[in-house]
C-alpha cells in the first residue's frame, strides 16, 4: 500500500506529486527524498531509504530510476519490495505507452494525463489494475505529442531500422508515440513492433579461456492494434529448452530457461514453436529466456593484449588486438573498450589502425572508441604510457607481466540484426483484418548488446 507517489526530474524538480492517503506531511516529502538521496553515505543503498524524525512520521522511500527520472513511492508499511518495484516499473511502462516515451519533457506536457492514469491505477494506495484493457475504458485525455509523427519523415532514419518482409525501414522513433486512445484516430496506423533483444555478459580469463557466458534475452512486443486481435509469432523451429531436448538436425538453438507472459497461449509451442496471443495495446514482454555457459556461435569479440612494462623507467606499453568474429556481413556498432590503468598514468601516445577510431585517458582508465567494426575484421591499437608513481626495483629488464591495477578490459557494443543465441522470429501473422484499412505494418528486429563483456589481462 502506497502513501504517496511522485516523479522527480534528474535534477530533483518535482514533476508529478500524488498523495493517496493523506496521512503524510505534504509536498516537501519530495524535496526531503532528493536531499536524502544526494546526501547518502557511500555504503548505503539508495533503493530504500527511511525518513525519521521531524514531523513526518517514519516512512520508507522506494524508488526506481527510469530514463533519467526518479519514480518514487512512499509507504509506512513493511511491504514486499519486489511487488512495489515491479509496480513502479509497470507504471513507467504505462506512462511510456500513454505519453509516447518517458522523459522530463513528455511528462510535463502531459501532466493531466498522468494524474488521470494514476487515479485509475491506484486507489487509496492500493493497486486496482495496470492492464491496458481496463484502463482504456477510463482514460479520456489525449496525449500531447511535441512533433507529429510521420512515417515518411525519413530524415530521422535510425542507423539500423527494422527489417520486414517488405524490407522497408522504419524510423528509429517509430515506436515512441502514444498508444492511441480515441476511436477516431484508429484508422491511421495499425502497427506492430516486435523486438528480440539479448543482453550478453561474458568473462574471459587472461589466458583466453572462457570463464562465463550469460545471455539474457527477451521478446518484446509493442502493439498499436486494437485490443483483442490475435497474432501468432513463429520462432526458429530448432529452438530447444533445457539441456536434454533435441530438435532438428543441427546443434539447435538451446536455451536454459524460458518464461512466458501469462497471456501467451502455448498449444502450438511444443509442435511448431508458435506463440499465440491476443496482446493488449502497448508494450508487453512476451517471452524471457536465459542461456549460460554454452553458446552456439563464436563470441563476437576476442581481445589479444600484450603488455610490456619497464619497471625502471616506468614506461608501460599496451598493445591491443581486437578481432571481431561476427559473420562478414554483420557489423558491431558503438564499440567502446574501457581499460582501467594503474594510478598515476600521465601521458598517452597512441597508434591506431583506423582514422575513425579515438582513444583517450579519463578517470584512471583508457577509453578506445570504435564507431563501427565489420565482421571478420581485425583492429589494433598501440598505447604507450608513463607511470612514474609505480615504484619497483630499478634496473630490471622490461617484463611482460602486467602491473597491478591494469585491467580488466571491458567492451560495450551493439550488434544489430544478430542474436547470440541464434533465436530468430520466423514470422509474425495477424489473424485480424481491420475493416477499411490495408494490412497492418509489422516490424521485426533483432538486437544484441553487451551487458558486461570483460576480458582479464
Amino acid at each position: 500500500m502506497i502513501s504517496q507517489f511522485f516523479i522527480l526530474s534528474s535534477k530533483g524538480d518535482p514533476l508529478i506529486y500524488k498523495d493517496f492517503r493523506g496521512d503524510s506531511g505534504g509536498r516537501d516529502v519530495a524535496e526531503l527524498f532528493y536531499r536524502k538521496l544526494t546526501g547518502l553515505p557511500g555504503d548505503e543503498s539508495p533503493v530504500v531509504m527511511v525518513t525519521s524524525g521531524g514531523h513526518h512520521d517514519d516512512r520508507h522511500f522506494i524508488h526506481i530510476r527510469h530514463s533519467g527520472l526518479y519514480l518514487v513511492a512512499t509507504t509506512s508499511e513493511n511491504i514486499s519490495p519486489f511487488s512495489l518495484l515491479e509496480l513502479l516499473s509497470r507504471l513507467a511502462t504505462l506512462l511510456g505507452d500513454y505519453c509516447g516515451s518517458l522523459s522530463e519533457g513528455t511528462i510535463s506536457r502531459n501532466v493531466a494525463l498522468v494524474y488521470e492514469l494514476l487515479d485509475e491505477v491506484l486507489d487509496y494506495g492500493y493497486v486496482q489494475t495496470t492492464s491496458m484493457e481496463m484502463l482504456r475504458n477510463f482514460i479520456q485525455t489525449e496525449a500531447v505529442v511535441s512533433k507529429p509523427f510521420s512515417l515518411f519523415d525519413l530524415s530521422s532514419v535510425g542507423l539500423f531500422g527494422a527489417e520486414t518482409q517488405q524490407s522497408k525501414v522504419a524510423p528509429s522513433s517509430a515506436a515512441s508515440r502514444p498508444i492511441l486512445t480515441s476511436r477516431s484516430d484508429q484508422s491511421q496506423k495499425n502497427e506492430v513492433f516486435l523486438d528480440v533483444v539479448e543482453r550478453l555478459s561474458v568473462l574471459i580469463a587472461s589466458n583466453g579461456s572462457l570463464l562465463k557466458v550469460d545471455v539474457q534475452g527477451e521478446i518484446r512486443l509493442k502493439s498499436f492494434l486494437p485490443s483483442g486481435s490475435e497474432m501468432r509469432i513463429g520462432l526458429t523451429e530448432e529452438f530447444c529448452v533445457g539441456k536434454s531436448e533435441l530438435r532438428g538436425y543441427g546443434p539447435g538453438i538451446r536455451v536454459d530457461e524460458v518464461s512466458f507472459h501469462s497471456s501467451v497461449l502455448l498449444e502450438e509451442f511444443e509442435s511448431h514453436r508458435i506463440l499465440r496471443l491476443q496482446p493488449p495495446q502497448g508494450e508487453l514482454t512476451v517471452m524471457r529466456y536465459q542461456l549460460s555457459d554454452d553458446l552456439p556461435s563464436p563470441l563476437p569479440f576476442r581481445l589479444f593484449p600484450s603488455v610490456q612494462w619497464d619497471r625502471g623507467s616506468g614506461r608501460l606499453q599496451v598493445y591491443l588486438k581486437l578481432r571481431c568474429d561476427l559473420p562478414p556481413k554483420s557489423q558491431a556498432l558503438n564499440v567502446r573498450l574501457h581499460l582501467p590503468l594503474p594510478r598515476g598514468v600521465v601521458s598517452l601516445s597512441q597508434e591506431l589502425s583506423g582514422p575513425e577510431q579515438k582513444a583517450e585517458l579519463g578517470e584512471g582508465a583508457l577509453r578506445w572508441d570504435l564507431p563501427r567494426v565489420q565482421g571478420g575484421s581485425q583492429l589494433s591499437g598501440l598505447f604507450q604510457m608513463d607511470v612514474p608513481g609505480l615504484p619497483g626495483p630499478p634496473g630490471q629488464a622490461p617484463s611482460t607481466s602486467a602491473p597491478l591495477g591494469l585491467g580488466p578490459a571491458s567492451l560495450s557494443f551493439e550488434l544489430p540484426r544478430h542474436t547470440c543465441s541464434g533465436l530468430q522470429v520466423r514470422f509474425l501473422r495477424l489473424a485480424f483484418r481491420p475493416c477499411g484499412n490495408a494490412n497492418p505494418h509489422k516490424w521485426v528486429r533483432h538486437l544484441s548488446h553487451s551487458d558486461a563483456y570483460v576480458i582479464r589481462i
Partner: protein, 571 residues
C-alpha cells in the same frame, strides 16, 4: 480493500478466511482456496495480495498443509518476481515444521532469484541480492555453484557491487575459492576507493577459512603502496591475526615498510597494535614505533596515542633494551604535556603500573595474543530458516537486519506517543482471523522466538530452593567428546542470556553445571548439565516453573545450539 479483479474474488476470500465453518470443513475450505487461487481474472497484484492473505491461515493438519502447498505450487513459477517471492514466503511459513520442504522451496526459487539478480532493473537486482544474502545465512552452500552470477561489472552502481562482494564472500567454498579470490583481487585496485576497501575486507573475511591464499593476495596488495589500500590491508591483518594465529608469521614478514603509506587513524591503530603484540617477531618494530613517538606531538588522533602507549609498553616487555628510552620519553610527554585527559590518565596508569614492578606489568599486559574460538563462534551463527521466514519478501532484508532494528525501534517509540489519526485506523484492514484461530496466531511469536531476559539475576539460594521444589520437565542426552572449557561455555551461554549459576572446574569428574534463564513472560528455566567420566554424552535436565511445552522446546533448541557450537570448536 484492494481491488482484486472482481467482486467475486473479494467475496470468496472473505468467505474463505473469515468463516470458521469453512475452515473447519477441510474439503470445503480446500474448494474455496482452490477457486480463489484459480480465479482467472486475478492479475499479478491480486495474486500477491491473495498470497499475503493466506499467510494468516494456520492449517490444522499435515494433510491440509500439503494440500494447500500443492495448490500454490504454480505460483512459484509465475513470471512476476513479486508473486514468486510472496509464494515462497507463504511456503516457508506454512512449512515451518518441515525443514526439507523449506529447502525444496528455496531450491525452486533459486532460478527466479538469480534471474532477478541479473535483471535489467538495478533496483530489482538489489532487492534480489539482499534476499540471496538472507538465504545464504541459513544455507551457506545454496548458491555456491552459481558464483559467477555474482561477479561485478564495471558499469554497475556502487550499492550493487557492494552487495555482490558480500554475497561472494559468503558463498565461497573449496571448489570456487580460487576463482572468487582472483575476481576479488581485481576489485581491490578499483578506481573507487570505497569499493576497493570493501573488496579487501571481503578477502579478509574469506581468510578466516582460506588463510594462506588470502594472506598472499593481501601481501601483494601492499606492494602497490597506495594509502587507501595499505590502511585497509593492515586492519584486515590485525583482525586476522587475532582469529587465525597460524598466519602470524606471514603477516609479520609483510609488515615492514607499511608505515610510510598509512595516514589515517584506523590504519595507524591497527599497525601499532600489531607492532606491539607481535613486536618480537618484527626486527624493526622498535624503530617504527620510535618514529611514532617522535611525532607524537603532531599526532591528531587521541586513539592512536592510547594505542601507542599500550603497544610500546608491551614491546618493552619483550625487547626492553631497545624500548626503555622511548617509553620514558613517551610517558613523560603523555603525563606532562598531553591535553587529552584519557591519554593522560592512560599514561599515568602505566607509569604507576611500572612502579609496581615488572612482574605485575607482565601479569596484566600479557594477555593471549589470539582467540581462535571467537571466529568460530561468529561463523556458527547459521540461523535457522524459521528465524527469518517472516521477514522474507519484506523490507527487512533490504535494509539489513541491524539497520531495520534501529528503524523499528524508532518507530515503536513514535507509535507509543500520540494516537494515530482516525483515517489511518480506518484504513488498516480488520483482522480476518476467525475467533478460534486467534489464539494460535497470537502464540506464534512465542513459539517462534523465545525471548530470554538478559537482566535475569538468580541467586544461588533461590535457584537451589526452586530446583528442589520442581520436577524435571525434560531430560535428554547430548553427544559430547572430551572435557569442557567452562569459560568458553559460560561466555557462549551469556550471549544467549542464559545465566551460569554454578559450574565445576575444568577437568573435574563428574563435571556439572547449573544454569538459569527467564523469558519475557516470567517463566523460569533451570538446567543441569552432567558429564559423567568415561562417558561420551552430556546429560541435560531442564525444570520449568510453568508447564509450557512450546517455550520449553525452543529453550532446549537454544541450549542445544550453544552446546553444539562449543562442541564443534573443540573437535
Amino acid at each position: 480493500m484492494p481491488y482484486l479483479g472482481s467482486e467475486d474474488v473479494v467475496k470468496e476470500l472473505k468467505k474463505a478466511l473469515c468463516n470458521p465453518h469453512v475452515q473447519a470443513d477441510r474439503l470445503r475450505y480446500r474448494n474455496v482456496i482452490q477457486r480463489v487461487i484459480r480465479m482467472p481474472k486475478l492479475d499479478q497484484w491480486g495474486q500477491a495480495e491473495v498470497l499475503n492473505f493466506l499467510l494468516r491461515y494456520q492449517p490444522r493438519s499435515e494433510e491440509e498443509l500439503f494440500d494447500i502447498l500443492n495448490l500454490l505450487d504454480s505460483f512459484l513459477k509465475s513470471s512476476s518476481p513479486g508473486v514468486v517471492m510472496g509464494a515462497t514466503k507463504l511456503f516457508l511459513i506454512l512449512a515451518k515444521k518441515f525443514p526439507h520442504v523449506q529447502t525444496d522451496v528455496l531450491v525452486q526459487v533459486k532460478g527466479p532469484l538469480l534471474a532477478a539478480c541479473s535483471s535489467e532493473s538495478r533496483e530489482l537486482c538489489f532487492a534480489a541480492l539482499c534476499h540471496v544474502r538472507q538465504i545464504l545465512h541459513s544455507l551457506p552452500g545454496h548458491f555456491s555453484s552459481h558464483y559467477k552470477k555474482f561477479f561485478c561489472f564495471y558499469s554497475e552502481p556502487h550499492y550493487i557491487k557492494l552487495q555482490k562482494v558480500e554475497v561472494l564472500c559468503e558463498l565461497v567454498n573449496d571448489e570456487n575459492v580460487q576463482q572468487v579470490l582472483e575476481e576479488l583481487r581485481g576489485y581491490c585496485t578499483d578506481v573507487s576507493a570505497d569499493f576497493a576497501q570493501a573488496a579487501i575486507f571481503a578477502i579478509g573475511g574469506i581468510a578466516k577459512t582460506y588463510t594462506d591464499q588470502c594472506v598472499q593476495i593481501l601481501t601483494e596488495l601492499l606492494g602497490l603502496r597506495q594509502e587507501h589500500i595499505t590502511t585497509v590491508v593492515v586492519q584486515t591483518f590485525r583482525d586476522l591475526v587475532w582469529l587465525c594465529p597460524q598466519c602470524t608469521e606471514a603477516v609479520c614478514q609483510a609488515l615492514p615498510g607499511c608505515e610510510e603509506n598509512i595516514q589515517d587513524s584506523e590504519g595507524k591503530q591497527a599497525l601499532i597494535w600489531l607492532l606491539g603484540v607481535h613486536g618480537e617477531r618484527i626486527p624493526n618494530a622498535p624503530y617504527v614505533l620510535e618514529d611514532f613517538v617522535e611525532n607524537v606531538k603532531s599526532e591528531t588522533f587521541p586513539a592512536v596515542k592510547m594505542e601507542l602507549l599500550t603497544a610500546l609498553l608491551r614491546l618493552f616487555l619483550s625487547r626492553p633494551a631497545e624500548c626503555q628510552d622511548m617509553l620514558g620519553r613517551l610517558l613523560h610527554y603523555c603525563i606532562e604535556e598531553e591535553k587529552d585527559m584519557a591519554v593522560r590518565d592512560r599514561g599515568l596508569f602505566y607509569y604507576r603500573l611500572l612502579l609496581a614492578g615488572i612482574d605485575e606489568v607482565k601479569r596484566i599486559l600479557c594477555s593471549p595474543k589470539s582467540d581462535p574460538s571467537l571466529g568460530l563462534l561468529e561463523d556458527q551463527a547459521e540461523r535457522p530458516v524459521n528465524s527469518w521466514a517472516s521477514d522474507f519478501n519484506t523490507l527487512v532484508p533490504v535494509y539489513g537486519k541491524a539497520r531495520w532494528a534501529t528503524i523499528s525501534k524508532y518507530q515503536r517509540a513514535e507509535r507509543q506517543g500520540p494516537e494515530l489519526p482516525n483515517t489511518a485506523s480506518f484504513a488498516t484492514p480488520g483482522p480476518l482471523i476467525p475467533e478460534e484461530s486467534k489464539e494460535t496466531v497470537q502464540e506464534l511469536p512465542d513459539s517462534e522466538a523465545l525471548m530470554l531476559v538478559p537482566s535475569c539475576q538468580l541467586t544461588a539460594e533461590y535457584f537451589e530452593k526452586t530446583w528442589f521444589s520442581l520436577k524435571v520437565a525434560h531430560q535428554q542426552v547430548f553427544p559430547w567428546r572430551g572435557a569442557v572449557h567452562p569459560d568458553t561455555l559460560q561466555m557462549a551461554l551469556q550471549v544467549v542470556n542464559i545465566q551460569t549459576i554454578a559450574m565445576s572446574r575444568a577437568g573435574a569428574h563428574p563435571w556439572k553445571a547449573y544454569l538459569g534463564a527467564q523469558d519475557d513472560t516470567g517463566c523460569l528455566f533451570l538446567t543441569e548439565l552432567l558429564l559423567e567420566p568415561e562417558s561420551s554424552e552430556m546429560q541435560i535436565s531442564v525444570k520449568q516453573n510453568e508447564p509450557r511445552t512450546e517455550t520449553l522446546n525452543s529453550f532446549i533448541s537454544v541450549l542445544e545450539t550453544v552446546l553444539g557450537t562449543i562442541g564443534d570448536i573443540k573437535s
